[in-house]
Amino acid sequence: MELSLDRLSKHYGSKIAVDQVSAVLGPGVYGLLGANGAGKTTLMRMLCGILEPTAGEVLFDGKSIAEMGAGYRNVLGYLPQDFGYYPGDSAEEFLMYLSALKGIPRHIAKGRVKELLEVVDLSACASKKLKTFSGGMKQRIGIAQALLNKPEVMILDEPTAGLDPRERVRFRNLISDYGENKIVILSTHIVSDIEAIADEVLLMKKGSFVQKGTVSELIDKARGKVWELTVPSSQAHSWQKKATVANLRHEGEDVVLRIISDHKPDEGAIRAEASLEDLYLYYFPAEKGV
């Protein structure tokens, strides 16, 4: 089982949202990490076959997904970033409706819906109307619907948005189990989610992959670029202006700054242990504190 992206591009007028992206993805959990506007959603929509690439193509087991059509959709599960729902439907009705659209026979769908409502911890609200749901509950329903047809390829756009920490943990466990022998691609701009779930990270910036690799491989790449510097409190502000400061910790009168930089920022700086977040900040320096 293999999903390959062959020089995939999407242009909106003169704006290049995705720029010649190539990759071969086998079973596993892939974390698509990038700032807002990096092109994650655009890429995922092309992977689902609902957005036509300007150039390039997506192949599933060597066959073009555009040609596979319903055959590909049958093995696909998709959680859109911002999806519409039928406000008057109950959670159960909504899932039954999508089961029918996914061609799952009613008697199988019934059990499946029940099981998934259990999985996303919404059994108690099965017959409540969706319009009364909170953002996190809706998101969990969205995750459940993506799982209905036991997809081989699962594409989740910002799946943890709106989830509280407990729900996040639940979701991570669910995906780690599921991703054992399936292709799961999830996007996020939240580094800690990726660190916890992803087997492989695709770091996306301005429409291209700037880094690919496992979490530890990527952390290796950040190694040597993270520094700790102790300065008086009064200087903290000017450092934040002139360097990428990942963290700032008060120690008595002084402040310990965590600085991301290719070069030693100051005589007094010492090397520090790197994390994925440091790498993210290295690539997206303007987005401090994400």
Binding site: R45, C48, G49, I50, A70, R73, N74, L76, Y78, P80, D82, F83, G84, Y85, Y86, P87, G88, D89, E93, M96, Y97, L98, A100, L101, K102, G103, R106, Q145, N149
Partner: protein, 402 residues
């Protein structure tokens, strides 16, 4: 099939649908039929307005039917004279209760239409109450004459006139007479108004099929499922049509049921000329009623197709509602300011035309051939409406892909 049931359930579950169907039933069945029969149309008159009528329609109707039965059967000059004589003796006695039993609209109208030379313009009373009965002769020749005069006045000459007169030749003469007022109310007012009333409630029920802001954002979900949006669209269309048919069915059962209860079947084989003398169609009351319901049914189907198209174009349900209502009420409102041919063209829109055209001599001229208007009015709206369906689907698909 599964999808269809889910969509269908979704439509019926909406509060707006439930309320509109309920109001529709109340309006058409309770007010338009039951209360109308029992009270304000057929309740015996007390001489004031119809809301002062007695609540005795059921008995009154039987009294009327019995009274008309005395003169029932073949309508000859003698039978008409007999009716007029009896009418005059009742007016002489000034007996309100007896007056209530007479066929009080149609029979007087025949006298005044057919025998205009016997009218005394100075006399404020109806012609029937003072005309000498034995002068009322030549009913059928006179009917033929007023028909021909009418065609002349309305500038229907040559081939069109031939066509209509030929149709008229098939009308069986002499006519059979029974009490007419019951059929007159059903065919002359209830059925023609039914489509207009249903418009409102159908629009409320069908506007949300494709419209609503949230609809646009279901696109990504629907588009990535195996069966995809096509199945969803088919289910939506079918459930919309099914809902329209069901609403119609409820009204049909309610309307016909109360009609059978209050009016019975008496007079079903009278010709429709008993409602309008110069009608040219060889039809009896039963045929006309069937025509009327089929007309409304096909109009409803056509209109459902149209509303679903508007629903797929509109951003919000409310906008779809307004568009749907204006598709019917706007043509009706502006129609009188338009030239005659434009009025006739508008009549071809679903639920804009009227089943009462069977009483009229309107025609459409298609490639030089004249066609009696009801033939087109019954068939064109449903074709137009169903023709909208593929566009509705395409339009919706395009919206979802954005």
């Amino acid at each position: 099939m599964e999808l269809f049931w889910l969509e269908h359930k979704r439509l019926w579950k909406r509060k707006s649908t439930q309320i509109s169907v309920l109001l529709c039933l109340i309006y058409v069945v309770v007010f338009g039929s039951i209360l109308s029969y029992q009270w304000f149309t057929f309740g015996s008159s007390t001489g004031y307005n119809s809301f002062r009528n007695r609540f005795d329609g059921y008995a009154s109707i039987r009294a009327c039917q019995q009274y008309a039965g005395q003169f029932g059967g073949v309508l000859t000059d003698e039978a008409l004279q007999e009716m007029v004589r009896d009418y005059q003796s009742i007016t002489d006695r000034d007996d309100m209760d007896e007056m209530n039993k007479t066929d009080r609209y149609k029979v007087p109208s025949w006298v005044s239409q057919l025998y205009p030379e016997l009218n005394h313009p100075q006399d404020y009373r109806l012609e029937i109450s003072y005309v000498e009965p034995e002068k009322l002769t030549g009913f059928y020749e006179r009917r033929q004459k007023i028909l021909e005069d009418f065609l002349a006045i309305s500038d229907q000459t040559g081939e069109e006139r031939e066509y209509l007169l030929k149709m008229n030749e098939k009308v069986e003469q002499p006519f059979r007479y029974q009490w007419t007022e019951g059929w007159n109310v059903i065919l002359g007012s209830n059925l023609p108004e039914l489509g207009m009333v249903m418009t409102l409630f159908l629009t409320i029920s069908l506007a949300p099929v494709f419209a609503g802001e949230w609809h646009d954002r279901t696109g990504p979900l629907l588009l990535t499922t195996k069966n995809g949006w096509k199945e969803a669209a088919r289910a939506k269309i079918c459930s919309g049509l099914a809902l329209a048919v069901e609403i119609f069915g409820l009204i049909l059962v309610g309307g016909v049921g109360s009609q059978l209860f209050f009016l019975g079947t008496e007079g079903w084989d009278m010709p429709i000329q008993m409602i309008k003398l110069i009608a040219v169609a060889p039809m009896n009351m039963l045929q006309a009623e069937i025509f009327g319901y089929v007309f409304v049914f096909l109009g409803v189907i056509g209109y459902a197709g149209l509303v679903m198209l508007l629903s797929s174009c509109a951003k919000s349900t409310f906008a779809a509602l307004l568009l749907g209502l204006s598709a019917v009420y706007l043509p009706l409102a502006v129609s009188e300011y338009l030239p005659f041919w434009a009025q006739k063209a508008l009549d071809l829109l679903p639920l804009v035309g009227s089943p009462a055209d069977i009483f009229r001599t309107n025609t459409f001229c298609i490639f030089g051939k004249y066609v009696w208007s009801p033939y087109l009015l019954i068939i064109v709206p449903v074709l137009l409406g169903l023709g909208c369906v593929p566009f509705a689907v395409r339009r919706w698909a395009r919206r979802m892909r954005r």
